[in-house]
């Protein structure tokens, strides 16, 4: 399902600009949506789900224009959405909650609905606790139930906001493989702060900074943004002086080895191949520099 976003802006009450002039094409497959807190990711996803309307600009999802009520309703019929925070009804069991959402999604046929629910409960490993009330679920179990509800109705467009937050490592790996399988025949948008999740599951990535689109391309090319700017340097303790961003710090027998992204490597720094984290940091540094230059003009 193709998503076309043209000159999209969103300003909330109080003149709070969440998105500014975003133009973007999203093709079938899994796309990672990255950005700092407040970058506009959740606003973009809420617009794509038809929950809120843009201030200006146009959005079409699978040919449906989100400016019209009919268009929004049509998109909602094709959509599975997992919000960032989800406080589920504690008085329903997991199975009942899924049945409720399935009915709201218009899945009328009872045997088909129950079959889907059984399959999804199995897929997110909640079958054994399906008859337990959600109020007694752990954070990870609630998150998995949230993922299951997003997949009800076999949606052609899946939008998930921080889906692996609160999952333990094993659950996260299971979710990654689930997400990777989803992207084979539908459009999946994954918003996350966990770059590893993007590296593992998303061939393409979109990055927002301060409401503006700063990158749209392959995940590999995003890593390439830090080519020639990524170094390691070992010091006896504190990080080296200079203008750089520290990606990781690891204690070694000879001191602390810092992985840094910088335009001016400190003495003794060794160039290394960049990864996604390095590329993301390089991009963010460049975006901040551009914003600062723009505001100084």
């Amino acid at each position: 399902m193709q998503i076309s976003i043209t000159a999209l802006s969103k300003t909330y009450r109080g003149d709070v600009r969440a998105l500014t002039d975003v133009t973007l094409e999203l093709a079938p497959g899994t796309t990672g949506l990255l950005g700092a807190n407040g970058a506009g990711k959740t606003t973009l996803m809420r617009i794509l789900t038809g929950i809120i309307r843009p201030t200006t600009g146009t959005v079409t999802v699978g040919g449906h224009d989100l400016a019209s009520t009919a268009g929004r309703t049509a998109v909602k019929r094709l959509l599975g959405y997992l919000p960032q925070e989800l406080d589920l009804y504690p008085d329903l069991t997991g199975r009942e909650f899924l049945d409720y959402v399935a009915l709201l999604k218009g899945i009328d046929d009872k045997p088909a609905r129950h079959h889907q629910i059984d399959t999804l409960l199995d897929r997110v490993a909640l079958t054994e606790v399906a008859r337990r009330r959600v109020g007694g679920y752990s954070g990870g179990m609630k998150r998995r139930l949230g993922i299951a509800q997003a997949l009800l109705g076999d949606p052609r467009l899946v939008i998930v906001d921080e889906p692996t937050a609160g999952l333990d490592p094993e659950e996260r790996m299971r979710f990654r493989s689930l997400l990777a399988s989803l992207g084979e025949n539908r459009t999946v948008i994954l918003s996350t702060h966990i770059l590893d999740d993007v590296a593992q599951t998303c061939p393409r990535v979109t990055v927002l900074a301060a409401g503006r689109l700063v990158y749209d391309g392959t995940t590999t090319a995003l890593a390439g943004q830090a080519t020639g700017h990524t170094f390691t340097v070992t010091t006896p303790g504190p990080p080296p002086a200079g203008e750089h961003a520290v990606v990781t710090a690891a204690a070694t027998p000879t001191g602390t080895t810092y992985r840094i992204v910088t335009d001016t490597p400190p003495p003794g720094a060794t160039p290394v191949d960049p990864g996604l984290e390095d590329g993301y940091l390089a991009l963010m540094r460049a975006a901040r520099a551009a914003t600062a230059a723009e505001s100084n003009r």
Binding site: D87, Y89, L92, A102, L103, L104, K105, K110
Partner: protein
């Protein structure tokens, strides 16, 4: 059921009823008040010994309504506010189900569960009079009284409480509902001379319908503010019923607007 009502309304009715029924607070708020209202009706000399079975049951229905409906409105003041749990509004708004359908289904489903003890009480009253007076029509009168005296009042009171719960914190809404219920049903202007809808067609006490259609003695009906308090007749009873249903619709529209404004 879903083929008849549509899956979204079916789901809202079914699962909101289930969630309400699983809330201990609902039963704590309603069952003692239903018991108290039955005790009050049994003990009141002015409510008993009426010749007509319909009048007798209508009079009991007004007393049961006075106490029980307050309990269920207080218990259900959180119905609209609880749908604002983190992330849930977005999740529900991202489904194709219309918000108005979800809201109506949520209110009716919760109310359906809350009305169980009241319905049991009214059917017990009907069965009791049917046996005592050897008049099987008592069961039909009890059902009619439930539908025209208690259900419209419960709809209005619950819609009011749940809408108030969107504007102020739910515990405060519960306190305000108690005051509003007293003001709208049994406010005595000779004791506290202040404007009230008690005694008018806008009062949810139900004595317009109980008196106009069932022949029960009128408690306040016809003694309220002049224009809104016509003499009690079957026609004015119909006006009172329509006024309650209309006010409920207005509150639901307001609640929908409040929710939409916060999206």
């Amino acid at each position: 059921m879903s083929a008849l009502l549509g899956p979204a309304l079916t789901g809202s009715l079914r699962y909101e009823a289930l969630m309400a029924a699983r809330q201990r607070g609902l039963w704590v708020a309603t069952v003692p008040l239903v018991a108290l209202s039955l005790l009050a009706a049994v003990a009141s000399p002015s409510l008993n010994g009426l010749r007509e079975t319909s009048a007798q049951i209508g009079a009991w229905a007004v007393v049961i309504n006075l106490f029980s409906t307050l309990g269920l409105a207080v218990a259900l003041a959180d119905r609209f506010a609880r749908a604002r749990r983190r992330g849930l509004p977005d999740l529900l708004d991202a489904t194709a189900a219309r918000p108005a359908v979800r809201m109506i289904g949520g209110l009716l489903g919760s109310l359906g569960a809350a009305l169980i003890p009241v319905t049991v009480a009214m059917l017990t009253v009907g069965a009791g009079f049917a046996v005592d007076r050897r008049d099987p029509s008592a069961l039909g009168w009890a059902l009619l009284a439930l539908l025209v005296v208690i259900v419209p009042a419960a709809l209005l009171a619950t819609a009011f409480a749940a809408t108030l719960g969107l504007l102020v914190p739910v515990p405060l809404a519960r306190v305000l509902v108690v005051g509003a219920w007293g003001w709208a049903t049994v406010w005595n202007t000779s004791i506290i001379p202040a404007p009230t809808v008690t005694g008018t067609v806008l009062s949810p006490l139900g004595d317009y319908t109980a008196h106009g259609w069932l022949g029960a003695p009128a408690l306040y009906a016809g003694h309220g503010a002049a224009v809104l308090s016509p003499p009690v007749t079957p026609t004015s009873a119909a006006i009172a019923l329509a006024a309650l249903l209309g006010a409920t619709v207005v509150l639901l529209v307001l609640a929908r607007a409040l929710r939409a404004a916060r999206t």
